[in-house]
Amino acid sequence: MHELSIAMSIVDLACEEAESRGAPGVDVVYLKLGPLSGVVKEALLFSYQIACQQTPLEGSKLLIEEVPIVVNCPVCMDRRPVQSLQSLCCAECGTPTPEILEGRELMVTAMELRQ
């Protein structure tokens, strides 16, 4: 369970961003989360509330967009989804594909700043 430490990193990052833009606080943090990030959404949401306490983010919301794994299929020669996390094969043609293009995201994409 390292989601609390991840949540604290999100809070630190958001505080810095808000401060650098002269905002007194943050209402919403938007996060992109891939299945290969090693982070569990529910645990992160729970930890986020704790990490926000007594910071300018207290009372803010974390909105998580879960994004799928995308690979470069060597047979289709194109971007493709995979069958599952337990089967990294092209969902179209079934070829095992180690070349991962997306799916490791753990990224703050945007924020709503309090004015």
Binding site: L13, E17, P35, L88, M111, Q115
Partner: protein, 227 residues
């Protein structure tokens, strides 16, 4: 009345601080010509026994050193020190994984130019270490034959984050009726193309092939660095 909140684009990785430190470490390893290898596995897979054996075998021909992470105790560092290689324990307290900053801190006082191989043994945990880049050149994931063939399917993220899978405790294959074909299939399902080595630190089976592999990797990384 409060004005409307202002939406701003950010696009920053949450672990950016760790990633920046890890990149700097990787550059230091490359510049010093040391091959850095991290080990991840569940607790009890035989990481420390495997590493002790590896350090002992390499010690006569190469300059090797190890960092070893644990929540508590210096027991593993004491075990590894029997190999005569320099070893430093990283005690993480309540933290369930190593981070790049811990590696950087532990390396203080060591001259990387004096080393050929650096091993970094992560905390025994198949979940959390997958998120943290330590600057290593290669990440080995260890899986002992006593653990069950479906472990890669249960922990796909860490297997996917690794470069090489090592099946340990091969001396116990018969006793636990280990299904090697199923294990290999499951590893390939979560990380297509991953190289798999099988060995026993106890009997030495597979260790010669493993050392050859290490030497090849070192040659490859040195010639890549020289380009």
């Amino acid at each position: 009345m409060n004005p409307e909140p202002r939406l701003v684009e950010v696009r920053k990785n949450v672990l950016k601080r760790n990633d920046v430190l890890a990149r700097a470490l990787r550059e230091r390893f490359r510049e010093a010509g040391v091959l850095a290898i991290s080990l991840v596995s569940s607790p009890g897979s035989g990481k420390t026994a495997f590493l002790e054996k590896t350090l002992t075998l390499l010690h006569s021909r190469y300059n090797v050193a190890a960092l070893v992470g644990d929540l508590a105790t210096e027991n593993d560092a004491a075990r590894l020190a029997r190999s005569q290689a320099p070893v430093k324990q990283i005690i993480t307290g309540t933290v369930c994984h190593l981070e790049a900053a811990m590696v950087q801190h532990a390396l203080e006082g060591w001259n990387l130019h004096d080393l050929d191989f650096l091993f970094i043994e992560n905390v025994g945990n198949l979940v959390c270490p997958s998120s943290y880049d330590l600057g290593e050149d290669l990440r080995f994931v260890l899986l002992s034959v006593t653990e069950g063939e479906d472990k890669p399917l249960k922990y796909p993220t860490i297997f996917n984050s690794a470069d090489v899978a090592i099946i340990t405790k091969s001396d116990l294959v018969a006793a636990v009726e280990f299904d090697e074909a199923a294990t290999r299939r499951n590893i390939q399902a979560v990380r297509p193309g991953m190289q798999i080595l099988k060995l026993s630190a106890k009997t030495g089976e597979g260790m010669a092939e493993f050392l050859d592999f290490l030497e090849n990797q070192r040659q490859r990384s040195r010639s890549a660095a020289a380009v």
